[in-house]
Symmetry: D2
Subunit: 157 residues, 4 copies
């Protein structure tokens, strides 16, 4: 299998993402990935989507839950004003779930990019009222299949 096409989501750090060690806190990193996921996959309430993958209806009727997440932190991340370059693709598409893969890089503009972290999350779509899983629609599959590639292989597992 060849490498998937990847989405590149630029995401701004906030100084408040730092902890007392003056690095981006490890839980803040997951907050950034959450935001990338929302931007990548949720259809905006109005206006044009920024990414062709943004087809999940926004709102609170269809919940996007995280079933599991794994993350490997490779280098401390300092505060910086240019947006990080988060790269996303799918490692797997299931019946009502999918595995989202992420690599977090230093800003695109800044010469050779540093890989800060790698992560993968299993997301499950659930109906808020019934609590039951909801199957991926044909529209979701069509939008996401071009971004389906190799899952992450963690070096230190």
């Amino acid at each position: 299998m060849t490498d998937a096409v990847r989405l590149h989501i630029p995401i701004d750090l906030r100084w408040g993402d730092l902890d007392a060690f003056n690095h981006v806190n490890n839980t803040s990193m997951l907050k950034l990935l959450e935001e990338c996921r929302v931007r990548a996959f949720w259809a905006p309430e109005s206006g044009e989507p920024r990414y062709p993958t943004a087809v999940v209806p926004a709102g609170t009727e269809l919940l996007t839950l995280i079933a599991r997440q794994e993350i490997e932190y490779l280098r401390p991340v300092p505060y910086q004003s240019d947006p990080l370059d988060v790269q996303l693709w799918f490692g797997r598409l299931g019946g009502s779930s999918g595995e989202v893969c992420y690599e977090v890089y230093s800003p695109r503009a800044a010469g050779e990019q540093v890989l800060y972290a790698r992560s993968s999350a299993v997301i499950v779509f659930v109906d808020a009222a019934s609590g039951r899983p909801v199957r991926l629609t044909p529209e979701m599959r069509a939008a996401w299949e071009p971004y389906l590639g190799e899952p992450i292989r963690y070096s230190r597992r």
Copy 2:
């Protein structure tokens, strides 16, 4: 006194800024203002500053502390993908402190803008080692005086 020139800082919401009421949480709003303050006033560690007011040396030797803050929430803020338009100016410049004024508006692109919130914060510059206030430098005064204007008058105080 005529209205000050205002800085316009575009700031991205994160879905994680919402609380269980599905609005931007009131404390998240202060987090956004904190980030605007950092971008507006702190010199980047490398590269060009984005704003002419960004003259405070970054790092952890010179602390920017908040002595007091006041905020008026005018309308609930929904999650949205375009950046909010935060407008900043100074209401006062003191010896080692200043009052930063903020108005938080809906995105600039989206027709008539809605005013979501108004806030002001007294910031004090303090030396991290000694804990003592540090006087504004001539460079800070020169950079900030064009943005000095009327303080906010709160309607419901």
Copy 3:
């Protein structure tokens, strides 16, 4: 008017409340006050309330919104394992709103207590479906009037 009876709410810091300056971040302080407000005023979904003031029905039908908040930071707050002592009372009770006053002290156990911060927030009760204010019930008034006292006078306003 004599001093109101005050509620004492013990609240644990989290190390994650610190920012890169190694102090409790100013927005984290509001997060602590939010949690104290929830514990003080919301009836638990099951079991006995811990405070006689906990009479607001929990859930997301009745929203407790913040209309304005003011806070004065008097001293930096370090991380510590004993819970802070947050003292609450009402500065005012209106038709569908109230002003909650807070003083944040160092832990009760630790000898003479240090006053870290003072704050007040105007809260408004709003019906989630209609977006309209909801009047305080007789039960709320009865529960809260013993805690009605002098509003905070800010020294540096």
Copy 4:
């Protein structure tokens, strides 16, 4: 190998840990685990440690970094006023690192406990000045070995 002795750390939720889905946000869960780790392992600046495992010198000279973390969310966590029961043990002790294992349960008081989440984190001790790993001291090993047990086996990896 028999089951390790486990530490039980009671940890309070905050209403602010919820997200717009009205459940504890998945990143907030990691924030809770971070706080449990700090309480379990860091020696308090003054006073008696609450846990026999609290032997890591607090402060910002010795950094406790997360090299990797894995988490499995088994059930949505509602806001509740009683503290969750987080159980901790070591899955491995290395030269300058260790694997901390966690199971997050509903409050101890409330009848049969529900397992909400399972997680493990590889922590590495690093000298802040040099950025180099620091070896576990004999005191750390002595304090932690009673809590060394089976690593978590994830069901859905």
